[in-house]
Structures are given as C-alpha cells and as structure tokens.
C-alpha cells in the first residue's frame, strides 16, 4: 500500500490526496488513541481534555506530514509544544510536592532528585569502574519527584535510542523545543557566519564532563553547565558556590537557548554545548535510517546546509552525499532542498530509490515513540494549564 505512495526516483514527493493521507495516518490515529486511553478513562476532567487534545494534536500533525510530504515544519510544532509544556508540568509538580524549584539537600539524600536523560553519558564510567551511580536519585521509584527512578529513565532512553538513534534529539528530547521555537521566530538569521569548528565543542564538553564526573564523583554537567536548570530545577543555593552555579545556568540558558537561536536561527545549545547530543550522535551509526544527498541531482545550492538547525551538513559531507553524525533527522534539509536531492534513506538501500518509503518507515517509528513519550509530557503540561482554567 505504501509502495504506491512512494516515488520510484529522486525528486520532491508531491502532496498526497486527502484520502491517501488519511489512510497513511490511520496507524498513528489508532496508536495515539491507544496511548491516550488510560488518561481518557481518568476521573480528572482536565486530564481527560488534555489527553484528547494531545491525541488530536499528534494525529493532525502526522496527517499534515502525510498530506504535504513535508516533515520539519509539522514536527517542529510537536517539538516546540513539548519544549514549552514540559517546564510547565514539571515546575508545577515540583512546586506542589516541594514548594520550591531548588532541590534541598534532604531530597538529594532521600534519593528524590528527578533524573532526566542528560547525565546518562556522565554516569557510565563511574558505574563501569565502581558500580556506583553518581547521581542523588533512586534506581527504582522512590516517591516524591524521583518519578519511575533512574533505571526506568535509562530503560526508556535505551529503547527509544534503539528505534530513532540520534533522532532522540528531534522526537524525544523535552528540552530542545524551547530553542527550536526561538530559532523559528525571526525570518532571517542575523548571524550567518558561524565557525564550523564550533561543532566540535559538544564533544569537548562531553569529554570534560565525563572525566570531571569520574574525578569528582558527581554529575558535573548537572552541577555546573546545564542551561535547562533555569526552567526545571536547580541546586538550592546554600552558599556562594550554589549561587555561582545558578548564575551559570541562567546565563547559559539566556545565551544558548534564547538569544543565540534568535540571532542564528540554529539550535545553538544542541550544536555548541549539549554533551548528551554529542553522545547520542554515536547512535547515528547504529540507526538504519539516515539522510543522504543525491549527488546526481544536487546543484549544489547549499540550502540544505543553511536550513540545518545543528550545522550537520558541511561542504565536504555534501560532496560525499552524507550528513555529519550529529544529524538528528529533523528533516529540515529534505524540506528545504528544491530539487529533492536531500532524501530520507535506509542503510543498505540505494540512495534516492524510494526515499518516501524510507521517510514513512522512519516517521512511523519516530512518531510512535514521540506519541508515547512526548505525548505524555505534553498531556501533563496541558493538564496543568487546564487545571488553572477549568
């Protein structure tokens, strides 16, 4: 069935008819409804509405992806919603349970520090060498803000990574949406010339943070560099060091998540800082899906390079017909290419042969995990707002 919808040669896929787009959206309709079933059966009215809205939102976006054959601009709506609604739901929970965005020492000792995916690469070496997790959380659910525990977060990360690889940064990361939203606001970039060597900074940050975490036996990135502490939670400032740490979080957030995306139209935190993103790039090598540049039709106009939010296309990589390993499969380059030279691809298959089939297979996988993981976060954020309104 999908065969008919796939083009047999390179070039832009034309928009589909309503009926065909609806047919292709049907699996996601069923999946989204299934994912929201539990919430819809809750007695909490705001949660019911939030679940219904989230399911409808995800279905409409996927439908538009199918209808227009464009990926990036529709995915961006999901991703920005995820990035904006996560802090709303999270901060609300923190304030209800703890009364403050600052993590008090008691909560760390009790193992109730919420664990996100960002420190995962920092925990590997200390865990491998000493079987110790250098994070003040709990392995299993520990009540309070500990959520499902570190093991569940690690399990979820590994499962989603297996499916989308570095696509995590486009379909699952609940932090990147804020800067993607900021980058979408201006019509043109003010700063167009960015030194390509800056792409290497996240690797340097990753190396430094991994070694520091091992040496100091603490999640160094969370303690010193994470810009998203500014919109989630931070170390309660007990002394001057704590105040300096919080100052760094706010400055990095303002610079890399707000100001620089507005000036460059790039996801600057992801491109120039995020050590988790660098680490996640490794899984681009294990993913079966990637983006290729069909050199037989490429002019090259470099529009793909300009549109890439993470500078994952260099002159050399375009010449080779590839993206760099930092590509997060957002689809911006594919949408931007006027000749359809940038294409979705499945490893092992010929480039530009049935690229729409590759796109569809990737999107089904990515949207399934996005609806499951991101959908629940969007629902929580929406429910928090609705509780205030209703």
């Amino acid at each position: 069935m999908a065969d008919a919808a796939c083009t047999a040669f390179a070039g832009k896929t034309p928009p589909r008819t309503w009926s065909r787009a609806l047919l292709l959206t049907l699996p996601i309709v069923l999946w989204s409804l299934f994912m929201s079933m539990q919430g819809l059966m809750q007695h909490d009215r705001s949660l019911q509405i939030a679940n219904a809205l989230t399911a409808a939102f995800l279905i409409v976006l996927f439908f538009m992806m199918m209808k227009t054959s464009s990926t990036y601009r529709w995915r961006r709506w999901f991703f920005v919603a995820l990035g904006v609604l996560f802090p709303i739901g999270f901060i609300h929970n923190v304030m209800v349970l703890r009364g403050s965005m600052g993590i008090p020492l008691e909560e760390m000792i009790a193992g109730r520090t919420p664990f996100c995916f960002l420190p995962i690469p920092l925990l590997i070496l200390p865990a491998a060498l000493t079987k110790t997790l250098v994070f003040p959380g709990s392995l299993l659910p520990g009540g309070g803000m500990s959520g499902a525990g570190m093991a569940a977060m690690a399990g979820l990360w590994l499962a989603i990574t297996l499916v989308v690889g570095k696509g995590w940064c486009s379909y699952a990361c609940f932090f990147g949406g804020i800067e993607e939203g900021m980058a979408a606001l201006p019509k043109k970039a003010q700063w167009k010339k960015l030194d390509p060597r800056l792409r290497l900074v996240p690797w340097a940050v990753l190396l430094a943070m991994v070694l520091l975490s091992l040496a100091l036996f603490e999640p160094a990135y969370c303690m010193w560099l994470c810009p998203f502490k500014a919109v989630s939670e931070y170390v309660a400032a007990r002394n001057t060091v704590g105040m300096v740490q919080n100052g760094i979080f706010v400055v990095l957030f303002a610079a890399l998540v707000v100001v620089l995306p507005l000036l460059t139209k790039k996801r600057t935190q992801c491109t120039f800082l995020c050590p988790f993103g660098a680490f996640q790039s490794i899984f681009n090598k294990t993913s079966v899906f990637d983006i290729k540049i069909d050199r037989t039709v490429c002019s090259p106009c470099m529009l793909c390079q300009k549109s890439c939010p993470t500078m994952s296309l260099s002159d050399e990589s375009i010449k080779k017909g590839e993206t760099l390993m930092s590509c997060m499969k957002c689809g911006a380059c594919v949408d931007a290419c006027p000749k359809g030279a940038a294409v979705w691809h499945i490893r092992g298959t010929q480039v530009a042969v049935k690229p729409e089939r590759a796109r569809l297979m990737f999107l089904y996988a990515a949207w399934a995990v996005a609806a499951m993981f991101g959908g629940s976060i969007i629902t929580q954020g929406l429910a928090t707002i609705l509780q205030r309104v209703i």
Binding site: L105, T132, L139, A152, V163, A215, T349, A358
Partner: protein, 164 residues
C-alpha cells in the same frame, strides 16, 4: 549485488518500526530490568551508606551507618551517618552519647533540638569523645559530610571523620 543489502536494510527498518511499537509493552521494561540487574547503587555520599547497627533508646532508635569515604577528587570529607527515628518519639532536646564504632566506648555526644515544625531549620553540636571523629558546632546543612537534616521520619546527622 545490491539486492541482498537492500532487502536487509528494509528488514531492519521494518524491525525498527516493530521495535517502536514494542517500546512501551516490552522493550522499556526489558531494558529497565536489565539495568537494575547490573548491581549498581547510588553513591553513598548521597545515601549515607548501609546500616551497620541500631541502638535502642527511650522510645526511639539511633541507626549507625557504615563510614563513607570520598572517591578520587570528591570534595567532601569522610563521614559517618547517624539516624534518630521516629521523629514523633524524640524528646524536645537530644543529647546522646553514641558508640559509633561498636567498641563499647562512647565516641561522640550529639546534641540538637527537635522542633515541632517539620520545616524548621535544624542545628547540631557534636562533641568528639574519640579523636577519630570531628567536633561540630552549630552546624546546619552546608555539606554532605557534615550536616543535620530531617528526611521523612528521621533526623540524620553526619559526623566527619578526622582520619586519625
């Protein structure tokens, strides 16, 4: 020659789509279980180390944890954690001499007030009766290795070790 790799590519892509569907039902649980079976534990600098023994007092207990030593360049001092619980059974003022190392000799005298308001700040004085333990005066919760905090139904005191 391209045909087998192409077939393999589509097969793996199909399996990836299937894996995406299986994430909430199977994969996440499987990986979570695998992760818990690795035998990892949270750094004792946060948790305070496993319990060594418990001393019974008038209606309450004092739990003594194993000594915790910092790793590599960790900036904290080595310490031992003592828990007074349940808080509801504690008198208004605690002044207990505790045999921390279990040699029959008292090692530290720990004194603190127990406020009725669970959110009220705590301060502790520790008199070192054994040079192995460091005395503390009017300490709150500045560092992981020297503090007094209330966690759930217990008051935790961490006494730094001098290294002697």
């Amino acid at each position: 020659m391209k045909w087998p790799t192409s077939k393999l590519g589509y097969t793996v892509a199909g399996m990836t789509v299937l894996a995406a569907v299986l994430v909430p039902f199977l994969l996440m649980g499987l990986f979570t279980k695998g992760f818990t079976k690795l035998g990892l534990h949270v750094d004792e600098m946060y948790g305070g180390g496993p319990t060594v023994r418990t001393i019974r007092a008038d209606g309450y207990t004092v739990t003594i944890h194993r000594e915790v030593y910092p790793h590599l360049l960790q900036t904290e001092k080595p310490f031992v954690q003592l828990d007074w619980k349940p808080v509801s059974a504690l008198p208004q003022h605690i002044s207990d001499a505790v045999d921390v190392d279990g040699d029959g000799q008292q090692d530290v005298r720990v004194s603190f007030d127990v406020p009725k308001d669970p959110k009220a700040p705590l301060r502790v004085d520790v008199e070192a009766l054994n040079p192995r333990y460091q005395a503390m005066r009017n300490v709150g919760k500045g560092k992981f290795s020297e503090l007094i905090v209330r966690v759930d139904d217990a008051i935790l005191v961490r006494v730094p070790l001098t290294g002697q």
